[in-house]
């Protein structure tokens, strides 16, 4: 009875674990490079990274960033360069969290936290000023009264989030291409990108979603555990063109 097959399928779902998150009480882990509320980073010596170049404001499609640069005072410089961000404001009523500012920034000054639960109740609170955006003396983002910070929301807020292999070129994997940072030093690079199967298995946060949910969900087309480490991918002769991405190497 082919007609009844569908009923069996829907009927069987009743006892299965639910995939819904009970949101305010239960929150799903966020991706490593989540586009959240911005922070302005500082170097390890406490100097601000922002040089007031206004590239972020120029690239912003929502025109939500307002920056004014000023010459560093010679006796007490704010940033290591010639100039520094004198005024820095982001209007979060306009920001679309596209992260073009983060990509445009030449000094990795503006980066992301993973915070998205900040519901201000008036328009003035929506405009974050420089003092609210710059990290504190321990390198942690400042916590404002209306922000709901969770564990891990302030993790990896630095140039680290921008790239582990710039321009997607795996040749740069494992190389540190970002500056050090107050409170953390130079962060180590993320590993695992040259694995030829990297594109096949879900990101770590994706696995944790499914595991946190009372058993694995089968048949969604997702491998619920990371496959065992394989032999290093053999490099064939004549395959040295740099535009070649590791995923495109075919079957092995």
């Amino acid at each position: 009875m082919g007609y009844l097959k569908g009923f069996a399928i829907t009927g069987k779902q009743i006892g299965k674990p639910k995939v819904t998150y009970q949101y305010p009480e239960e929150k799903r882990p966020k991706p490593e490079r989540f586009h959240g509320r911005h922070v302005l980073s500082r170097y390890e010596d406490g100097m601000e990274k922002c040089i007031g170049c206004e590239l972020c404001a120029g690239v912003c499609p929502a025109r939500c960033i307002y920056v004014r640069g000023a010459d560093n005072p010679p006796d007490a410089p704010v940033s290591p360069g010639e100039r520094y961000g004198f005024v820095y404001e982001i209007n979060y009523l306009r920001c679309i969290h596209c992260d073009l500012c983060v990509e445009a920034c030449p000094t990795e000054a503006i980066t992301d936290s993973k915070l998205f639960e900040f519901s201000f109740t008036n328009r003035e609170d929506a405009i974050y000023t420089k003092s609210e955006l710059v990290v504190d003396d321990e390198g942690k983002p400042k916590h404002l009264p209306w922000e709901d910070w969770k564990d891990g929301d302030d993790r990896n807020t630095s140039g680290w989030v921008r790239a582990t292999s710039p321009s997607g070129n795996a040749a740069y994997e494992g190389k540190v291409l970002w500056s050090g940072e107050l409170g953390y030093g130079v962060r180590p690079p993320q590993a695992g990108q040259s694995d030829p199967d990297a594109a096949d298995y879900p990101a770590s946060w994706d696995i944790s979603i499914r595991e946190s949910n009372a058993g694995e969900v089968k048949g969604v087309g997702v491998r619920s555990e990371r496959p065992k480490a394989r032999e290093p991918h053999p490099v064939h002769e004549g395959e040295h063109d740099h535009g070649h991405r590791p995923e495109a190497h075919g079957d092995h």
Partner: protein, 392 residues
């Protein structure tokens, strides 16, 4: 037959009992609709690996109450193009039949209240089950007038579909009810239920099955009835009337606030009422084994009712919507001939002697007539087609 309450004329006590019964049924129905809305959302969520409503009250039970309160405080919007009186009346035309149909459902045997014996049934009129047909025809007007009076396009399309659909399936519905009436020999719903008591007898032997009409009518009218009544109340998979993707809500696009709430109420009331009708017609209503020597009609009624409530949610969770031509195809080419044939067959079995010969002969005659008519119509249509081709 009829309610023994009126055997000794109408007195104040009798009137009071009737009023109390009416109130009880009314309140019970309203509460069960609130429950049904919650239940449908919950079960459909489970079938889609979700939790469903779980915020308002324990297990989200008060969700429908919260939604109801909210919807009644919304703006009652009337489109400027609408036909105002009809626009206002239409939701009630959909709701009232759903209420009224439930009044003929027998919920149990008789009880004694203050020296009066009365049935656990609001009314038991001699025309009985015909009331259900009357009311389902009236409900068409609710949907039709709602679409017409809204004065906009999508509701109109929805209501045109609705009237075509509901009228088409009413034929199959009526024919399968006729099968039951043929079996029972009475229109009283209490008689239909009473007749299904005991064990099944077939040509002198006792079959270890209850004598429910679902078995006595050879199952087919039961299936046809379920399909037809689902189409009749515009539930999925026959919800072309409010097809979200095509008509963005169909006949009730323009309704807000109370009007919307009434349509919503009517839909779920219909689910409850029509499940009760199915139970009454085909599954013996409140009939069932005694528990500890007590007759527990209402309990068995609720158990059976619940099975069908679940079935309706299950249907909605499983089946995609029919295409319009498939709907008409199923109604006219499958259900109506099948129910007509089954009516003839069951009637033949009832007559006793040589039922198969009688049934086959009757089926052949009807089938031949239908086929002849269909061929004639087809020929005519082809002629018209070729004619227009020549002109064009």
């Amino acid at each position: 037959m009829g309610d023994p309450l009126f055997n000794h004329g109408l007195s104040f006590a009798v009137a009071l009992i009737v009023i109390v019964k009416t109130l009880i049924v009314f309140v019970m129905l309203l509460v069960s609709v609130l429950f049904m809305i919650w239940y449908e959302r919950k079960v459909i969520s489970w079938m889609q690996n979700r939790y469903g409503p779980n915020r308002a009250g324990p297990y989200g039970l008060l969700q429908s109450v919260a939604d109801g309160v909210k919807v009644f405080f919304k703006e009652l919007f009337t489109p400027s193009n609408s036909d105002r009186p009809l626009y206002r009346v239409a939701p009630f035309l959909a709701l009232v039949p759903a209420f009224l149909t439930f009044s003929i459902i027998p919920l149990g045997g008789t009880i004694r209240v203050a020296h009066h014996t009365t049935r656990l049934q609001l009314v038991d009129p001699p025309w009985g089950i015909l009331l259900m047909l009357v009311m389902s025809s009236t409900a068409v007007y609710g949907v039709m007038l709602a679409g017409w009076s809204s004065g906009s396009k999508y509701p109109l399309l929805g209501s045109v579909r609705a009237s075509a659909q509901m009228i088409s399936y009413e034929a199959a519905l009526g024919l399968s009810i006729a099968t039951v009436v043929v079996l029972t020999g009475s229109l009283y719903t209490s008689a239909i239920v009473g007749h299904q008591h005991g064990l099944l007898h077939y040509r002198g032997t006792t079959v270890p099955l209850p004598a429910y009409n679902v078995f006595r009518s050879w199952l087919v009218p039961f299936v046809i009835f379920i399909i037809a009544i689902t189409a009749e109340m515009n539930r999925p998979p026959f919800d072309l009337v409010e097809a979200e993707e095509e008509l963005s809500g169909g006949f009730m696009v323009e309704y807000s606030s109370v009007g919307f709430a009434l349509f919503y109420l009517a839909e779920f009331m219909n689910v409850i009422t029509n499940s009760a009708i199915i139970v009454t017609l085909f599954l013996g209503g409140p009939d069932g084994p005694r528990i500890f020597g007590n007759s527990v009609g209402p309990f068995w009624f609720l158990v059976k009712e619940f099975v069908f409530l679940f079935t309706y949610v299950w249907l909605r969770a499983t089946l995609p919507r029919f295409r319009y031509d498939q709907l008409m195809d199923l109604g006219w080419k499958r259900l109506i001939p099948a129910s007509l044939g089954m009516l003839l067959f069951v009637a033949a079995v009832q007559t006793g002697d040589r039922p198969w010969v009688f049934g086959v002969a009757g089926g052949l005659i009807v089938g031949g007539l239908l086929l002849g008519r269909a061929l004639a119509v087809g020929k005519q249509a082809t002629e018209i087609e070729t004619r227009t081709e020549k002109v064009g």
